[in-house]
């Protein structure tokens, strides 16, 4: 046995393995590129070669119509943005509150638990359009003093519908926190409220952040449904413009704007997911 270890040398076998892996990587990249190119060419040929392509391009991708429709659609989009802001806050608060109610253990809270449970059952099952109809057409029909404006009523419909989805997400998060965490917190002398506030909820919210953000992206698209009650949002503007010209380009413009608006939120979702995965398992760095 020698005292000094010889300089590490890659064995011939290992060099062969590395070379093989490199070749395989290159091959797979080439195949991926080639198949993407083939698919892309096929798609372009199939679409632009279709007999109706000229008409479809004229009807859906007309640059002039797009330019003319943009300012009005942006004005409509502002309504979507404002609604999204307030409805997201409302739905998150409502969802969290209902989730906490659903996880209360003491028997005395049974009525509250039952109420919270039926709420999530009811509003996850009820189509948003119908909730909107009931609130924005039915409630004003009561002719009560101090009925809020249609925008607020529509906002309430969105908040209670999305609150039900978010409540279930929050509940899943709360229940995923191991009971030993609660037990440990209570044994340290924390009250129930303190345990929830400092131990359970922070972990729960972090775990369910991706699905929460996912629901918010869905909400972002659905706020426009409020247009059914009369207000004019981005999609409604596009619909009006399409009806005036029989040209569908405004819809495409509105669609692109919605995607642009969603990208930041989706990017944040991905980032949060990645970070959570890294934190939960040291190996989850892929």
């Amino acid at each position: 046995m020698t005292a000094t270890t010889p300089a590490y040398e890659v064995s011939a076998l290992q060099r062969e393995r590395l070379a093989y892996r490199r070749r395989q990587t290159i091959t797979s990249i080439v195949i991926a590129a080639a198949s993407t190119a083939v698919l892309g060419v096929l798609a372009v040929v199939a679409i632009t070669g279709a007999p109706g392509w000229d008409r479809v391009r004229e009807t859906f991708l007309n640059a002039e119509v797009a330019r003319e429709s943009l300012p009005e659609i942006l004005r409509g989009l502002w309504l979507n943005v404002q609604l999204l802001f307030f409805c997201a806050i409302g739905a998150l608060l409502l969802g969290l509150g209902v989730a906490v109610l659903r996880t209360l253990r003491p028997a005395v809270f049974f009525p509250l638990r039952a109420l919270a449970t039926s709420y999530t059952y009811l509003f996850r099952g009820m189509p948003l359009l119908i909730v909107l109809y009931l609130l924005t057409f039915g409630v004003p029909g009561l002719r009560l003093q101090g009925t809020p404006p249609l925008l607020v009523l529509g906002g309430i419909a969105l908040v209670i519908t999305y609150g039900a989805y978010l409540a279930e997400v929050f509940r899943a998060g709360i229940e995923s926190v191991h009971p030993s965490q609660r037990a440990a917190a209570r044994s340290l002398g924390l009250t129930y409220r303190q345990t929830m506030r400092h131990v359970v909820l922070p972990q729960a919210v972090r775990r369910v952040a991706p699905p929460l953000l996912n629901d918010l992206v869905a909400l972002q698209k659905d706020v426009g449904l409020i247009s059914l009650a009369g207000p004019i949002d981005a999609i409604r503007v596009a619909q009006i413009q399409t009806a005036e010209t029989y040209n569908y380009t405004p819809y495409v413009v509105a669609g692109v704007l919605f995607v642009l608006m969603a990208i930041p939120l989706i990017a944040v979702t991905d980032w949060v997911t990645l970070r959570a995965a890294r934190r939960q398992s040291a190996e989850g760095s892929a």
């Binding site: 080639a34 007999p51 008409r55 249609l150 009369g230 399409t242």
Partner: protein
């Protein structure tokens, strides 16, 4: 490990895709004949309709009086149903050779293959729209009308100026909406509804002060559908060209010439006027707001 099976799979997929492409290689749509059809060519055996020997007429679902009765276009009752059958008869189709199909507004104007020979559903003829579809000769001259209920703040409006502060509503995609934004120009943003039923409901709820519909619809809604409904008045045409309803046909349809000829003939021999009198009677007398 990536081994030949994968590569051959990719190749196979590429071959398959190429085969699929060949299968759906561009084919021309059935050749569209020139629209300059001679009068003699406008007979069922010469007309290139969707189904040979049948005339397929499209309309929305639901459809409303006085244009149609009971949402049954095939009954021949209602102004547009009667006009459609009169055109069919002029072209030589008996009543049982007429097939009705339901097409929503958006589908009726979409660039794809049409499922109707012509569509009748209060389509206003505009230059912009002519870029996307063919219109027949007009079969009805239309005016837009503001309606409301008793007790509304515009119930006593006598001029357009009286409507400036009003919250008005209209059905989406209609020239009624343009009448609000281009002629009345109220300070409050107009409300836009999916259909006239929704607009009517919000008028009853009081969330809008008035709604704009075309004149015959205004008479029908205020007399038959609304309690205490009143007509405020007619609104002048938005632009110089009068607003007229035409039948919608596919862009470049071989039938446009024949259908237009039929409409022109019906106007000339007084049939259109008679149908109008039968179904849209009593629609005179609403004051015009200026």
């Amino acid at each position: 490990m990536r081994t030949p099976p994968l590569r051959s799979a990719v190749l196979a997929a590429a071959v398959l895709a190429a085969a699929a492409l060949a299968a759906c290689a561009p084919q021309d749509e059935p050749t569209v004949a020139a629209t300059s059809a001679a009068p003699s060519a406008c007979t069922p055996d010469k007309l290139a309709t969707l189904a040979a020997g049948k005339l397929t007429i499209g309309t929305d679902d639901p459809v409303y009086p006085p244009w149609f009765a009971d949402n049954k276009p095939e009954s021949g009752q209602g102004f547009e149903s009667a006009v459609a059958y009169a055109i069919a008869a002029k072209l030589g189709y008996a009543k049982d050779q007429v097939v009705w199909t339901r097409v929503t507004f958006n589908n009726a104007i979409a660039p794809g293959k049409k499922t109707y020979d012509f569509d009748v559903n209060e389509f206003s003829i505009t230059e912009d729209r002519k870029k996307a579809v063919d219109f027949s000769s007009p079969y009805y001259d239309v005016t837009q009308t503001v309606i409301t209920v008793k007790g509304s703040k515009i119930a006593g409006a006598k001029s357009l100026a009286d409507l400036k502060g009003a919250k008005l509503g209209a059905q989406v995609g209609t020239t009624s909406y343009r009448a609000i934004t281009e002629v009345i120009k109220p300070t409050a943003q107009p409300a836009v509804f999916n259909n006239n039923d929704d607009a009517k409901k919000q008028l009853q709820n009081g969330t809008v002060d008035g709604i704009v519909v075309d004149l015959p619809t205004a008479f029908y809604i205020t007399s038959a559908e609304l309690d205490n409904g009143i007509i405020v008045g007619q609104v002048a045409q938005p632009a110089g060209t009068p607003e007229q309803f035409g039948l919608v046909l596919d862009k470049g349809s071989a039938l446009t010439g024949c259908v237009s000829q039929a409409v022109d003939a019906l106007r000339a021999d007084g049939t259109l006027a008679a149908i109008e009198k039968q179904w849209l009677a009593g629609v005179a007398g609403a004051p015009t707001l200026s």
